[in-house]
């Protein structure tokens, strides 16, 4: 994988992560509205990892890889060494529940699930790995 960014766990770095992903998608001539959604999905995962898994500790880093193999598909791999996230125990709240609870969080992973075809979380050695895949149209 040649497209790789390593960056420290600060919320202010989310804009840099988005720019990194957007530039790569732009080079692949992916349509703006589609690219925008893919950038959003990566941003949501990275925001969760930075805030919840790494508590915004700038001495920690996350790595973002972008890959276009096999063809017609994009894969994002995001690696970190914070607290791992267990998707199997995650119960997605309904939007109604979030509205009535008046809380501000809870829709990030919902967006990622609706944008991407597949989300996989795994652990390898000391790393947590989140892999997002999406078939590209055209």
């Amino acid at each position: 994988m040649e497209n790789k960014l390593t960056i420290s766990c600060s919320k202010q770095n989310l804009a840099k992560i988005r720019q990194f992903v957007a530039d790569i998608l732009h080079r692949q001539a992916i349509k703006e509205v589609e690219a925008h959604k893919l950038v959003l999905a990566v941003d949501e995962i990275c925001a969760n990892l930075i805030i919840h898994s790494n508590h915004c500790n700038p001495t920690q880093t996350i790595e973002v890889y972008v890959d276009f193999q096999p063809a017609e598909q994009v894969t994002f791999v995001i690696r970190d060494q914070g607290i791992s996230f267990n998707l199997s125990t995650y119960a997605e709240p309904s939007l109604d529940e979030i509205v009535s609870s008046r809380r501000k969080g809870g829709v990030g992973l919902m967006l990622v699930k609706r944008i991407m075809d597949k989300i996989e979380f795994s652990t390898e050695k000391n790393y947590n790995i989140c892999k997002l895949t999406k078939k590209l149209s055209e």
Binding site: V39, L40, I98, V99, S100, R114
Partner: protein
């Protein structure tokens, strides 16, 4: 980076949100909405210069929906760029919020009924 411009009109508050609202900047949107909801019964939000919004920003809007309803505050957002509108649509927020194409429609909706 987000820039929020607040303008008091005769009977409503106009909030313009420019730039990008993400997990690092959503607090600014939150502060603006909190202040508007405390002081106005009608709020217009211009998102035509909003280039990006993540769940943190959407979450701010969502968190006020109950309060707006309870306190009979009318909030209308307008001018969303297509890429931003898509993000609202993914969650179905167009069914929960008042969203119009432009300021004129937003004002009409604000003053309607």
């Amino acid at each position: 980076m987000v820039e929020i411009n607040i303008q008091a009109e005769s009977d409503y508050q106009l909030i313009e949100v420019r730039g990008e609202v993400d997990a690092s900047s959503s607090i600014e949107l939150d502060n603006a909405l909190k202040s508007a909801a405390e002081n106005y019964a009608k709020i217009l939000i211009n998102l035509s210069k909003l280039e990006y919004i993540s769940s943190a920003g959407l979450g701010v809007f969502i968190s006020y929906l109950e309060e707006l309803k309870t306190n009979d505050i009318k909030l209308v957002i307008f001018g969303l760029q297509e890429k931003v509108r898509e993000v609202f649509d993914i969650l179905g927020l167009q069914h929960l919020m008042n969203i119009t194409n432009n300021k004129e429609e937003a004002q009409a909706l604000l003053n309607g009924k």
